[in-house]
Amino acid sequence: MTETENTGTPEERVPRRVIGTPVPGGQPNGRPGGQVGVVGGTETEVHEAEPGTGVVFPDPASARRAERLVALLFLVAFLAGVGFIVSYVAFQVGDIDSTATSNFALGGTMTLAFLSLACGIVVWVRRIMPKYNLVQERHPMASDPAVRDEVAKVFVQGAEESGFVKHKLLRRTLLLAAAPLGLAPLVLLKDLGPLPGTALRHTVWKQGMRLVVEGTGQPIRAADFNSPGGILSVVPEGYEHDLNALAKATLILIKLRPEQFKSGTNLNWTHDGIVAYSKICTHVGCPAALYEQTTNHILCPCHQSTFDATDGAKVIFGPAARPLPQLPITVDAQGYLVAQRDFLVPVGPSFWERGDAEAEVRGQA
């Protein structure tokens, strides 16, 4: 890109050239891949060895200065390298603080060593080594027609001599031998299975299973969860630490005022204004649990899907396609919140065989 920059008055500009085009006013392009000079030799501090060769030698004074700089950088790299070894010995690891000190010393010295080494080499290349302006010719990739004819001729001759066309039996048995080997990779695809079966359609929730607080494992008495605007993250009793089960079964429990509910919520599945929704977003399965008690919106932090907690967790914004499934809940004899049954529809994101589970549920009802 710097090739096309203006460097001064128009007369001094290096003409813009595309690689492979003939050199304007230069020597003819007789040597393929040869070096062709394109730099105007007007600069005072550079010495072009021979006009037209494209080799530019640096100014000796500048090169001497650069040499000192490079030597200094290499010296720093040397000291930092020694420092690395010294810090390995000096800073012993053990507890968190001493390990942090050791890491800092080792990382710092190694960074310094490699950085000064790299800087030194770059300065060396840029300010001490001579510069070349290279033009690489681009040629057609194809061989010439005579060679191509010859190859075609040899191929046809070889095919004839092999008797692939003449000997039917050989040809057919060879194809037969290749067929099962071709099918083998398809058979191996079976190892991607087994298919999940109905596992995606069910969670561990079942009738009478208690809802317990995530993090403490306490069952929840409905009368205790009595502040409108409250929310709790809830897991099934007995599965508090079974992450496979929790990946589908985790709930958010929301307390609303009974008059806040809209038609989307199944009131038979609530208890005294307490409603339980799946915490797994129906978009791609993030935990959707940002809850604003002023608007009753449940927000998924991943892609901003927003659900209305008062209206059966209906989607009101965002990419989610379906409401968060509602878990039927009730209370047991001691007043603790329990599940009435499992979710009626699969929780979480869509999958291939899911179908319209909501419509199936409506059909049964």
Binding site: T2, T42, R126, T216, S227, L290
Partner: protein, 275 residues
């Protein structure tokens, strides 16, 4: 000026111009963006620690939105009957109320006006508490982080709080311009009061489902996290992979690109050529 003109076609000039423009835009935004300045007139608070004094303070500072009897004014402010002393302490001590000068969808944390001191909050709280009860303020013992179990609190915090407030309490965005505030500026008392009262959009975590001991554990966790040093030198707001990625891409890769341009750039000599 001449030197600028001479260098305007320097290969790094375009980057310099871009950087300058970004700085100008950022600086202009910082200067012009709305800042909540507090213009509340300071009024002398009375000497009597009683409900009457709280009522007087309320009439002057709060009643324009919440109504003369704290019954609320539709469209301006909610009823304060039954919100309790804990709400008053949280809202007033964190500067969220009075919210008259707050712009936007959220009443932000800010410095309280001059009339707010411990006595004024006590009186106001006593007045509001007298109207319809509600959650009371926690004792010093209930919010002492030293007495909480940070490990247990962390478990509860991660289950119930981090979706909005971030795992390190740094806060995060909500809908419609609202946001969950940074917890690292809040006092333990304010954190406790927020949990039991559910200020603004925050849900309520009442004492019967999350016990006071468990709340103290969570406070211990928040305070503990706050005291941790960032191993990398800067936590970048501790708001997670977005900022870290942004810094990595812009600062890290940007530097690498500039270095690559410098390494491969053709050496220029226009100054000498002109001279």
């Amino acid at each position: 000026m001449n030197s600028i003109t001479a260098r305007r076609r320097h290969p790094l000039a375009r980057y310099a111009v871009l950087l300058l423009a970004l700085c100008l835009v950022g600086g202009a935004y910082a200067l012009l963006s709305p800042t909540g300045d507090r213009a509340d007139a300071a009024i002398a608070s009375g000497k009597n620690d009683d409900v009457a004094n709280g009522k007087a303070l309320f009439d002057v500072n709060c009643s324009s939105c919440h109504g003369l009897n704290a019954q609320g004014i539709p469209g301006r402010g909610p009823s304060l009957i039954g919100v309790g002393a804990a709400s008053v302490d949280f809202q007033v001590s964190s500067g969220r109320m009075p919210a008259a000068n707050s712009e936007g969808p959220q009443a932000p944390r800010k410095n309280p006006p001059e009339w707010v001191d411990e006595k004024a909050i006590d009186d106001l709280a006593a007045y509001i508490q007298s109207l319809g009860g509600g959650p009371t303020r926690p004792t010093a013992d209930q919010v002492d982080p030293a007495k909480g179990d940070a490990a247990k609190g962390g478990e509860l915090f991660r289950a119930n709080c981090i979706q909005c407030h971030n795992w390190a309490g740094a806060g995060g965005a909500l809908t419609g311009g609202k946001y969950a505030p940074n917890l690292n500026e809040s006092t333990p008392t304010q954190i406790y009061e927020a949990m039991i009262t559910g200020p603004q959009a925050m849900p309520v975590f009442n004492d019967s489902t999350i016990t006071p001991e468990q709340k103290r554990d969570m406070i211990a966790y928040i305070v503990k996290i706050r005291e941790q040093t960032d191993p990398g030198g800067s936590g970048l707001g501790r708001i997670g992979p977005v900022t870290e990625g942004l810094v990595g891409w812009i600062a890290g890769i940007g530097l690498l690109i500039l270095a690559a341009i410098w390494i491969t750039a053709k050496k220029r000599s226009k100054k000498r050529a002109k001279a």
